[in-house]
Symmetry: C2
Subunit: 395 residues, 2 copies
């Protein structure tokens, strides 16, 4: 009676959501302060005051036209403002007609993949990777090809990517700052990626598109620069979201930027419009379209996450844990104390520590700690981490 | 480089949107008051005051948690409130676990179709019909089968539906109050439909689901009752939206109700969850989830549309136009004054009357007039309708 693949996707929610649900139940059972839930990427800091001011100001319009349909691509004035911001920040020549507003990064990705897809073509993802990439790639009728990141530092392994590209390769998804690892890919690495893909485009005689998944662009530490791939590689599409930078994950607002430098940029943009239509997205939520226009230059509140990062990394380093120092996003990638990430995460659970095993992201031996939590949670969790480490020392 | 079908969908926006875009350009050219734009279904009345009150109240929460992720199915409290409302109004036994909040009716339909689809299976639509039905049915890998409504009154032609059902039939989309015609299907007609489908289910040994597309449920005239199909036929899914009833089309908020009486209701619901995930819908917009909870009993402002209906129908009747008296929604279905709807709509355009030709809805010889406009537009348009009619009398 139903589509079995849809049933499978519905009955096996991703491991992150499942752990989050376990955490909610466990908190109800033993008290919220006793469960150290590091499972989700739900920003712990509230949306900046500028968001509230924008909403209140927009709601003051007695005509209430702010709730009306916008064009499917999004309000023209909003898109113009975003294009100007991209040009000012990254030296591009974007116009409103290169931007398509979406219901967040998930919609940006599913629409972009559907627009580019041809049955059986391949998209490369760099493992560890956000597990929904595979779902959307397969829903678009394509093959998800996992290429491991470098073992030492989880940076791009250009030789491995080069070896994975073939005549079927339609694109590569790049996520920097990276979820789950927290690394930022430096400019020389992205330049190297551009060279590899340019050579492959010449070899196979067709475009290979890089889809840049960038919800964490504004969440970086120590003033680090996140290079803008469309400035380095022409065939780039940026999938952006305000979920993390403005703490609006539930409002579903973001955009697709089809670089004006792409081969057949206008045709790609048109296919993006068609894919949004086919998947049932009518327009991005109208009120929040106007909110992001007004908040286009509102900085993300990185300070709170920087404090959490410092507390967590110093605490875990003192306990002897190995991890990748995060340069961006709000995740800490910690080496499991045994080969199996799932076994380790299970033992952590016994200490009320909810850590996502790396198998959810396509590799073994690590866990992800989402530190978009309260500072109190981090502080209170340290004895649990200590007990967990002690347990392994005894063994 | 791109998916050709997505390119086609993007480059040929539906005729309604194209006419709307023409209208915007024409208004800029000759002045807004000189163009009589009846193209879109964008509610002309603002959202009720209760919506603004709800938004302001929700924004007053200093924690700002209202913008966070909700479960993919939607906030549990919101779903419980909606289930109670359905039970109170229609005598069902819905629970929160039968409801899945969506980004509006388009998302409700595309997700439901994707959940039920199997490659090559068929969905029946009653022509004239909302043209995006075909887009979503085909995107789900299925075949769109058009069954004409009764010629005399555009009610359901049960014999024609019966003849169209075969072993491949997965479902039927029913839209009442109807866009574009404005009719409401009475209980005896829906009972007849239920009997036809029950017999076919027995014959073929599998479920045939009715998808009830109900964005216009609250927009009815003269106190007419709109029968609730799930109370008459077990295998029913309701796709609802607050776009029209609360004048919130741009905010994208609605729901899917998988009737608890369906065969394998739990499995269907799980497949709906999977389809939402696969298409890239993470959760319905969070702020407006809470808004609809608070506005669940807010009545739609039908009065303004009723006045428009009276002005339009009396004006056009006096000019000798034939039309179907609308019982609901805010569309008037008018007989073209020549066999070709498109030729008629083109001649109307010369009088600055923007009417959607019925060919967009899968039949010829009629036009749709969307009267969700200002009363002034209707009044000012009458000389143009008179001139159009006179032109045909002369010919």
């Amino acid at each position: 009676m139903i589509d079995e693949r849809m049933y499978q996707l519905g009955s096996e929610p991703n491991a992150i959501r499942a752990l989050f649900a376990y955490g909610l139940a466990r908190k109800a059972e033993i008290g919220a302060e006793k469960v150290f839930d590091f499972s989700l990427g739900n920003p712990s800091i509230p949306a900046p005051g500028a968001v509230r001011e924008a909403v209140l100001d927009l709601m003051a319009d007695p005509a209430g036209t702010v709730h009306g349909y916008t064009p499917a691509q999004g309000d023209l004035g909003v898109r113009s403002t975003l294009a100007e911001s991209i040009n000012r920040r990254f030296g591009m020549e974007a116009q409103a007609t290169n931007l398509y507003l979406t219901a967040g990064a998930a919609a940006s990705l599913s629409i972009s993949l559907r627009a580019l897809a041809s049955p059986g073509s391949e998209f490369i993802v760099v493992a560890p990777y956000f597990p929904e990439y595979r779902v959307w790639i397969e829903e678009a009728g394509c093959v998800c090809v996992e290429v491991p990141a470098r073992k030492s530092d989880f940076q791009l392994d250009l030789a491995a990517i080069e070896a994975a590209v073939n005549n079927q390769t339609k694109g590569v998804i790049i996520n920097s700052p990276n979820n789950p690892v927290g690394v930022v890919y430096p400019a020389d690495s992205l330049r190297g990626l551009a060279e590899v893909l340019q050579a492959k485009q010449r070899l196979y005689g067709h475009a290979i598109t890089v889809i840049c998944d960038e919800p964490y662009r504004e969440i970086v530490y120590d003033g680090l620069d996140v290079p803008y791939l469309p400035a380095l590689y022409d065939n780039s599409i940026v999938c952006y979201s305000y979920s993390k930078s403005l703490s609006l994950p539930g409002e579903r607002i973001g955009y697709i930027y089809v670089s004006e430098r792409m081969d057949e940029a206008d045709r790609v943009y048109t296919a993006v419009c068609g894919a949004g239509r086919a998947l049932g997205f009518v327009c991005a939520p109208a009120l929040f379209q106007q909110v992001i226009k007004r908040c286009v230059d509102t900085p993300a509140d990185v300070g709170a996450y920087a404090l959490n990062r410092a507390a967590l990394t110093s605490g875990l380093a003192a306990l002897g844990f190995e991890f990748i120092e995060p340069q961006g996003a709000f995740y800490l990638w910690v080496k499991a104390l045994e080969p199996s990430a799932e076994a380790f995460a299970e033992r952590a659970k016994a200490h009320e520590l909810l850590l996502v095993p790396s198998t959810s992201f396509g590799c073994d031996g690590w866990v992800r700690i989402g530190y978009c939590v309260s500072p109190e949670t981090i502080k209170a969790s340290m004895p649990a981490f200590a007990a967990l480490a002690a347990e392994y020392r005894k063994a």
